[in-house]
Subunit: 320 residues, 2 copies
């Protein structure tokens, strides 16, 4: 099989993987691109043990080509999507059967590949890590991203009020069309004031640069869930008194490093609680553009430019 | 009735409180002294709304003297103890029936008054906020305190491994006698190394001065529960990258500011899960000394001296 390799992102030949007990062999038709892929290419986010170290790609959509012994969840020919710790940008992929989700009927592979990372991350961050409950106010930083546009739609399904931030007015406008309650431009100095009333949950991809503002925006018992650190890693003013006074929580989270058992549990819950909403058309992946996998380097540049709205997806072939 | 008043801690006459619907009138025999009382006396920790602003005391043990309408939990003559938002250092106290706990059979009021704050706080911090599970490693800072000595005993009951820190070798030795697995002197520069393997939960009363060390001591998915900030409130080096990489959580918590419904729930669970262990003798309050309530000012000085092991308790009268 062919696989894209780091750091050049050129196709190389690799041996076909063989599915073991409980595993699926998946022919990949599309792979979503993530900011974590950019960081990995820069040498700063190595793949966790057990995943290909030099083949990027954290989510895939494809067709089951073969199955190993004791597989009961899926059969050859079925269409699946899911998260992996690495290696999605290849023609063939071996995954555990408990990690795959069925692609909703009629959905293109290039749309399906835009679901796992964005919707899993948004749902897990808001509901499971952040414990957002009905009518909670949720602040979502950099809301024009894949995970942000997923969060805006999930908020509608889960009956949350979502306030998004961006540096681009156009992204806020498009998120409003997706159902966002209220948008705030972080280029305005008084953006924290514009957020309005205190929020119960903040989903943050910005990090150190907004920590102080975030903690001050949280309501009593509020939770700050950290997904990324785009503005910096080390905060030089962390008011621990606020944590005590308002009984706040800060939670660092990442999908990629989770063990298989935890990912499988997440897949089972997501399949039950969230996946049906795609079939009913209440949720849909937001795809900025689809590029051929052979043009991966260009796709990386596009994502790095911060001009995309929603996901960038790589298509393996004409079936994409 | 007489009540101690802030900041002088002298008895003053106050009108007798009257129990309303669902409330108990309690004749206080003893009140535990807490570090929060010291902070309140210094003008930095005002009582939450609904509690006496100028009468200190966050926990009491006494006898039900009268009950308001619709009281079913306790009857006059029964012995009760519990947490309050303020006002425990007075002869009479009105509390909601759902907030009181029955004093274990045969236990002196001056021992009972040492239970609520220490054991509620330690239990809530370790199990409910920190989600410590069987065989987890728990690091407890300033373990010679009332809450620390409670935590050491609770760890035995809950099958947790507890590692305590102190600046005083003698306090560590006495905690070992209570069942502590391992003690570390924070006066040693290499104390973090002495903690050994990573810990799952840290209960911290020290704050900014040890934040960096704490985060580096946490295992994957570890939780730092903040109860106090004795070494400072503002941390100038908060490595948010560690939070993400190891999926850490930081939780700020405080008992006093919780609403009645939450305190009542805590009392119900504590009554079911923890209180029986006092009756079986597996848990016992550690009382450093008992002083007359009229000597409250001296008791405050004793607690501030950091030389106590376990609780300082104030006794109202000869019945204490």
């Amino acid at each position: 099989m062919r696989a894209l390799t780091l750091p050049e992102l050129r196709f190389e030949d690799r041996p076909d993987p063989v599915p073991g007990e409980g595993q699926l062999l998946v022919r990949v038709h599309a792979a979503g691109l993530n900011r974590a892929d950019l960081v990995q290419r820069a040498g700063k986010y190595p793949a966790p043990p057990g995943w290909p170290a030099d083949v990027p790609g954290l989510e895939y959509a494809g067709e089951v080509e073969a199955v190993g012994p004791r597989v009961t969840y899926f059969a050859p020919g079925e269409r699946v999507m899911g998260l992996v710790g690495g290696g999605a940008m290849s023609e063939l992929l071996v995954i555990d059967q408990t990690e795959a989700l069925a692609i909703p009927e009629g959905m293109a592979y290039t749309d399906a590949a835009a679901i796992p990372e964005a919707f899993f991350t948004a749902w897990d961050a808001m509901v499971r890590q952040g414990r957002a409950a009905v009518s909670d106010r949720v602040l979502f930083h950099a809301v024009g991203s894949g995970v942000g546009t997923a969060a805006v739609q999930l908020a509608r399904v889960l009956d949350l009020t979502i306030i998004g931030t961006s540096r681009t007015p156009d992204k806020l406008e498009r998120c409003r069309e997706l159902g966002m309650s209220h948008g705030v431009l972080t280029t305005d100095d008084d953006w924290p004031t514009q957020v309005g009333a205190p929020v119960n949950v903040i989903i943050d991809t910005l990090g150190a640069g907004v920590l102080d503002a975030n903690l001050n925006l949280l309501a009593r018992h509020g939770r700050l869930v950290i997904l990324g650190l785009l503005t910096g890693r080390i905060a030089e003013h962390f008011d621990m008194g606020l944590m005590l006074r308002n009984r706040l929580g800060i939670i660092g989270t990442a999908m990629r490093s989770r063990p298989l058992t935890e990912r499988a549990l997440l897949v089972a819950r997501f399949t039950e609680e969230i996946l049906p909403h795609f079939e009913r058309g209440l949720l849909r992946p937001v795809v900025d553009r689809v590029l051929p996998m052979a043009d991966a380097a260009r796709a990386y540049d596009v994502l790095a430019s911060n001009t995309t709205f929603g996901k960038v997806v790589l298509a393996m072939d004409e079936q994409g």
